[in-house]
């Protein structure tokens, strides 16, 4: 048996090969404007198997800006552990220099100014170049898509995911798992999956009526690579019917089902698997817990919580890889598998700097073909940001995009209080940048975007905040759903993240009067993305567009209405 110490050494040796951070130290090169594609891709091919992981693309076909979170709290055992480290602490942990390309890619500080230096990130034509380069080193590298691929843009919404299916198929993935895909509705998901030229995996996708594995989605697939047998087991997002509208895919049931995961690992091992890879949409903390409970997984390619980590996190003998979101990163993981076991692993998180990595012209053409029918709609300028305002979403409690969306709801729907879901997708807008219709759809598009207006009592508003707070701050990761806190407008509150459900939220204040919220009084609340069937109201993107059009220039002000205690 290979010991834990051997693994650590292999991991560390692997880091040493690509610089102190394991990620690359390109600051000087970038300053000289000589950071090159070759440097980003530099990797001494290792072992006998290569995995390429991309996840949570959220339909971002084109390069974008994406600001990483400033606040990402870990509760209980996760406190201060990756990925719950941000900013300067994150840079220190990985030896990343302030102001460097890695700092821009992985942390939030000086985002707007660094964005001007280093430019946009992502774009599936750049991703294709990276995949092609890895395949040039290792022609049979496995490309694994962690899901949240067919959701998140104007064109994806209007084509019901077909634009993403067409472009991803051209990149030739070997397997995929799922989350937001199901919000296309089960008929559409079934239709696409039946025609997919690669494996659609999810050991936890069950038939809801019989509680048996769903026929359309296989739990795992074997691949013969480098003289070894690689088993890839899929793990879809466990809480789809809870976090997203169950009525859109009533035939399906999910859950973590780690007993079944253990059965699948045992089954593939007995069938001769030399190495076991889990393609997961659990979220990072759930994957960490699962890695400690299920024995025999070598690598978890983790998605859902949008974390980007330059080194694997090791839980016992399982390496967990986090590859970011929105097309901003691709992970390359080379494995040395011999005598039926993993002897070593080498990993690199490759940031897709759009101005450094040349686009693959074939894919650029294909992307432009998907977008052409909607070009006029996409490019229409609705407003702009002022020279000091950045629009971004990520962060546990608020982001400026959601502040703007909440303002739009308060103003357009004449509400006292606004609520915006704590989703983690959606690119950023720099100061002085035009805001197009496409930009608005990138942060709002979904198949249940109706902006409701409703009366809620003060007590019920507190219940909602407590409920969502527990989905984020429950100390047991298996009770977390992987989103951020619901964003609120017109409302202030205090949250003690260390307390149990029912005791976290206090000091609820209606901002327009400065008065405490009364438990039995009704308030007009506007929100969007309700999971209830039959929700009525205008689409959120129309509400936001109308608001931005009236503003012309968007100015964001610091949001101090949420007081966080115990962090």
């Amino acid at each position: 048996m290979i010991s834990r110490r051997d693994f650590l050494q292999v991991s560390m040796a692997a880091s040493a090969m690509v610089g102190a951070s394991g990620f690359g130290n390109w600051a000087r090169l970038a300053a000289q404007q000589s950071l090159t594609q070759d440097q980003l891709l530099e990797f001494d091919t290792f072992g006998n198997i290569s995995l390429i992981h991309i996840t949570d693309i959220h339909a971002q076909l084109k390069p974008i800006f994406f600001r990483e979170p400033e606040v990402n709290l870990g509760i209980g055992a996760a406190n201060g552990q990756m990925p719950h480290v941000t900013g300067a602490d994150f840079r220190k942990a990985y030896g990343i220099a302030d102001g460097s390309p890695s700092a821009y890619a992985l942390t939030y500080n000086d985002f707007a100014s660094l964005a001007k230096t280093y430019g946009r990130v992502g774009g599936l034509d750049r991703v294709s170049t990276v995949i092609n380069a890895i395949r040039a080193d290792r022609p049979d590298a496995l490309l694994l898509d962690g899901g949240d691929t067919w959701h998140g843009s104007y064109t994806c919404h209007h084509t019901e995911g077909q634009d993403m299916v067409n472009v991803m198929n051209a990149l030739k993935p070997d397997a995929m798992t799922f989350h937001w895909e199901f919000t296309l509705g089960s008929d559409r998901v079934n239709e696409i999956v039946e025609g997919l030229p690669f494996a659609a995996l999810g050991q936890n996708i069950f038939d809801s009526e019989w509680d048996e594995p769903a026929e359309l989605f296989k739990p795992y697939k074997f691949f013969d690579r480098g003289g070894s047998k690689v088993a890839v087991i899929g793990q879809a997002f466990p809480y789809m019917p809870i976090a997203n509208p169950r009525w859109m895919f009533p035939e399906y049931s999910f859950g973590i089902r780690d007993e079944n995961m253990q059965d699948m690992v045992n089954e593939v091992r007995e069938a001769g698997a030399d190495v076991v890879v889990v393609l997961s949409h659990n979220g990072f903390d759930v994957d960490k817990k699962m890695a400690g409970r299920v024995q025999g997984i070598d690598v978890i390619l983790s998605g859902h919580t949008h974390d980007a980590l330059p080194e694997p996190v090791l839980v016992e003998k399982t390496h967990i890889i986090a590859s970011g979101s929105n097309g901003k990163f691709v992970s390359r993981v080379d494995l040395d598998v011999r005598d039926g076991q993993l002897m070593g692993l080498k990993h690199k998180l490759i940031p897709i700097f759009s101005d450094v990595i040349a686009p693959d012209a074939t894919i650029t053409k294909l992307i432009d073909e998907q977008r052409a029918p909607y070009a006029d709609q996409l490019s229409e300028v609705i407003g702009r940001t002022d020279d000091a305002s950045t629009l971004y979403r990520r962060g546990n409690f608020n982001g400026t995009w959601d502040d703007l969306i909440c303002d739009a709801l308060l103003s357009e729907r004449e509400a006292d209080i606004a609520m915006s879901p704590g989703v983690r997708w959606g690119p950023s807008i720099l100061p002085g940048q035009e805001i197009t219709r496409e930009d608005i759809w990138n942060v709002t598009s979904m198949s249940y975007g109706e902006a409701y207006r409703s009366e809620m009592t003060g007590e019920f508003i507190k219940v909602i905040l407590e409920d969502v707070g527990d989905n984020l701050f429950n100390p047991d990761p298996y009770y977390q759903q992987g989103g951020d806190m619901v964003r609120v407008g017109g409302l202030g509150y205090r949250i003690d993240v260390t307390k149990p459900q029912g005791e976290r939220i206090s000091d609820l204040t209606l901002l327009k009067t400065g008065e405490a919220l009364q438990a039995d009084k009704n308030y007009a609340v506007a929100g969007w993305a309700s999971v209830n069937e039959g929700t009525e109201g205008p689409q959120i993107w129309d509400v936001v567009e109308s608001h931005i059009k009236k503003l012309g220039t968007v100015t964001v002000t610091p949001n101090t209405s949420v007081k966080v205690v115990g962090a």
Partner: protein
């Protein structure tokens, strides 16, 4: 832009079905345990209760219980107004001492299973099942 009465009704129903704190163990569940065990000590191990961490639908939560060698297994939803769910009795010819069913949960609570073994001893297992409003998934 009209405010719809239907939305309000939907949300109000949601509110009625949910309380802030996890449901407390009711006195009648203690009584049911007392009746099942006759006051004997209850050990751990030898019984497996499988339940989802978070219910997809609180009205129909799939659970499974297995206790090899048991003559009887009682399942309780400790926080329901009526905690008794089912008692499964296994005869000497039963191939396995396991059962699966679906239960209704009034809110977040512990689901408990107690087994009476052939030698007259008792074991239990419990699992917290969360019932949540949902929404806001990453």
């Amino acid at each position: 832009m009209d405010f719809s009465r239907r939305d309000t009704l939907g949300l109000a129903l949601g509110a009625a079905a949910l309380t802030v704190l996890p449901f407390r163990v009711s006195a009648s569940s203690d009584a049911a345990i007392e009746e099942f065990t006759g006051g004997a000590a209850v050990g751990e191990g030898g019984i497996t209760l499988t339940a989802p961490e978070i219910a997809e639908n609180g009205n129909t939560v799939p659970i499974e219980v297995s206790a090899p060698g048991a003559v009887s297994i009682m399942v309780l939803a400790a926080g329901n107004p009526t905690p008794g769910v089912a008692t499964f009795n296994f005869g000497p010819l039963a191939a396995s001492q396991a059962a699966a069913t679906r239960i209704r949960l009034a809110g977040t609570q512990d689901v408990m299973a107690l087994a009476k073994m052939a030698d007259g001893s008792f074991v239990k297992a419990s699992s917290t099942v969360k019932v949540t409003i949902g929404g806001c998934g990453g």
